[in-house]
Symmetry: C2
Subunit: 412 residues, 2 copies
């Protein structure tokens, strides 16, 4: 498989996070000789927040994990997250529910945890039974190989059609204590608002209550993982988990708005944005990374709907693939969004170039300027609706032949 | 340009419709040596109904025609419809409004009609000024060449990226009088719910009041032109006009529900469905024609939303391009539609093959059956939601490399 032109030269240096260890294994669920199973263990007292797909046909692991998130769990026991790639365990009927339950139960036996508090995530093909015996067989070996320093291999184990492993790391101060935040994620099609075939797992040693973690994660997800779209399709398996081992020595933080958390929140947002952008840059067939900034809408929600209408438009995305500064298609996308807009107030820019204002081509704009700008691989579309104070930024990629190649051929 | 594999061997035989004549002309708006201008004239007393794009950024011709539809017009004067291809006259500011007004005014002078009742439609590039002088120059010649028997040339004159001319014809009885219905249309990208870069013009000699015509046209549009999608994008120019010359000798029909209109309505629906399907079959890059039939939804509206979510999903459409009976992606699309559905009640068929029922793979289904079926060029996806009595059928095409070729390169 061709690697995305945006693939980083190397995986970021990701030191251990206090209170977590992990293992990977090639269990043979679907891929041959490739790690496809990952276990992350948090020490006793670990708190986990989660955000899941809004699909009304979620996979069994999502149904399980939603429940596990709310389950009371013994603070004396560790927490584990078990993730497999290759099979999404979606639309697999009762056998899918049983596969999820069995996975949690084997994790309980092997890792001595509370099965009800085991978090699961699966990604890969839909509608084929998950051969859970392979997970059962692999787990004891994984227990023996648990180690703190395995983030890159972990990021590789959760990949499906991703062409590179995605990781981001940051440190922050809470009071005088330095804490670390490590995140890994996988894409790379079916990425759309409200999650996609997108899994992201973020671990920190910060000492934060579950309720505060959840508030922070949900708020930031709206600005990061839910602000990206590859193809407007939404997966049945999307899961973002934020786990805090609470190993750091600062006092426990219970108020998500406490200013002592500001530095931590900035760092977490940076990690989440970093992972989101890496997902888009590995969007199936992507050759352009596009930020769509909408200002002047009647509300932030309206700005988001407009930004997503632009980001999801096949005609906008193919024009960009063709390096065509086709602002007419941006007008089309704004028009079909259904949100308040008025051609005579609207302006559209690409990077530094004002293309259109007040309902017509901007004076001084030349096609040559636009054409030169479109050759870049990082592009910025700026739309000013001119009606209010609502704003939102979304990110997407172009729609190319490679997307078709990958998706006309995924199962075979 | 490669012609669609679905292109008919020849344009249908379309005899004249009493009370209408027409002309075409190569005015040089954008294309060289190709007809790009069409005038249809209906005799005095002609009634016109119309349906337009729901885009909030409609082109100047749509704004003009919406008003013209409601304008009182002199029953002693003919009606004309003026259509150009090559330039959509959208987002062209005040000059676009003036271009529309000027076109209507020159039609008034040349054809001796009421300018306010002239209907306009334009299709082509967005955001570039329409050189209306070319239309002004062409119109007197067109007046001289008006003829009744020019439907194929008319269908060609309104094409943009279409690879074949689209026409459909039928006859029907109203009482003892035979009436004719002729329709032409153009596609072929930006085709989506609530109209697309889609123009359709239907002429009949039936004697029907404007109000009754409008009721019939609006109702049937929901089941035909609004039930098709190529790429989920909606154009700023979509227009469907139904003109009745009222030349037929039967008594005027004013009640759209009068059973004397049943045969006429069946014939009109056939013409509208025929044109809709031709548009999909000429969808940019289409190699598969796909009917998506949803039953058992909680309402017809819900069924429509689900059918459109499937028809608009890039992952479903690329799977079909790859001849993969990937029902998992259909499950994904149903899940993201946001409509009530329950995996345990859901069943999915492709043509005669039941793929999935009650949340899992159907007994007896084999991948070989699915693979053999997917090689056909006409495909049927049937979804039973199992919750209620709502149903809807939508039509779409696959998403292929040719779509990218055409759209990454449209303006150059």
């Amino acid at each position: 498989m061709d690697v995305s032109p945006f693939a980083p030269k190397s995986f970021p240096e990701m030191p251990p996070v206090k209170g977590f260890d992990m293992a990977v294994k090639a269990s043979g669920i679907r891929y041959k000789d490739r790690d496809d199973l990952w276990v992350l263990r948090g020490q006793p007292g670990t708190q986990i927040a989660g955000v899941f797909t809004r699909s009304l046909m979620p996979g069994a692991p999502v149904v399980w994990s939603r429940r596990a998130l709310l389950a009371p769990n013994d603070p004396e026991l560790p927490r584990v997250i078990v993730v497999n790639s290759g099979n999404a365990n979606v639309f697999t009927g009762r056998s899918g529910d049983k596969a999820a339950e069995l996975t949690a139960n084997v994790a309980r036996k092997v890792f001595d945890v509370d099965a009800k508090a085991v978090m699961l995530a699966s990604t890969g093909v839909i509608g084929e039974p998950l051969d859970v015996a392979k997970i059962v067989r692999a787990m004891p070996d994984m227990k023996k190989s648990m180690t703190e320093d395995l983030w890159e291999a972990s990021a590789r184990a959760i990949m499906t059609t991703d062409t590179y492993a995605k990781g981001a790391t940051a440190t922050a101060k809470i009071g005088d204590t330095e804490v670390r935040i490590n995140g890994i994620a996988k894409g790379s099609g079916m990425i759309a608002p409200d999650m996609a075939t997108m899994l992201a797992f973020i671990a920190t040693d910060a000492n934060i209550s579950q309720a505060a973690l959840q508030t922070i994660l949900s708020g930031f997800t709206a600005l990061t993982f839910n602000a990206i779209t590859v193809d407007s399709d939404t997966s049945t398996s999307d899961t973002v988990l934020l786990a805090a081992s609470c190993a750091a020595k600062h006092a426990v933080m219970t108020d998500p708005h406490d200013s002592a958390l500001n530095d931590f929140k900035n760092a977490l947002l940076k990690v989440m944005l970093g992972l989101s952008h890496q997902i888009i840059k590995d969007g199936e067939g992507a050759t352009k990374f596009i930020a769509i900034e909408v200002n002047g809408a009647v509300s932030d929600d309206s700005a988001r709907t407009i930004a997503m209408a632009i980001g999801n438009s096949p005609l906008v995305k193919t024009a960009i693939a063709g390096e065509d500064a086709n602002w007419g298609r941006i007008v089309m996308a704004i028009g079909k969004s259904g949100e308040p807009a008025n051609p005579e107030k609207l302006s559209i820019s690409m990077g530094p170039h004002l293309l259109a204002e007040r309902g017509e081509l901007a004076r001084g704009y030349t096609e040559a300027d636009g054409a030169a700008y479109m050759k870049r691989d990082h592009l910025e579309i700026k739309v000013d609706i001119g009606l209010g104070g609502g704003s939102y930024t979304a990110w997407t990629c172009d729609l190319t032949h490679r997307y078709i190649d990958i998706n006309a051929d995924y199962r075979s």
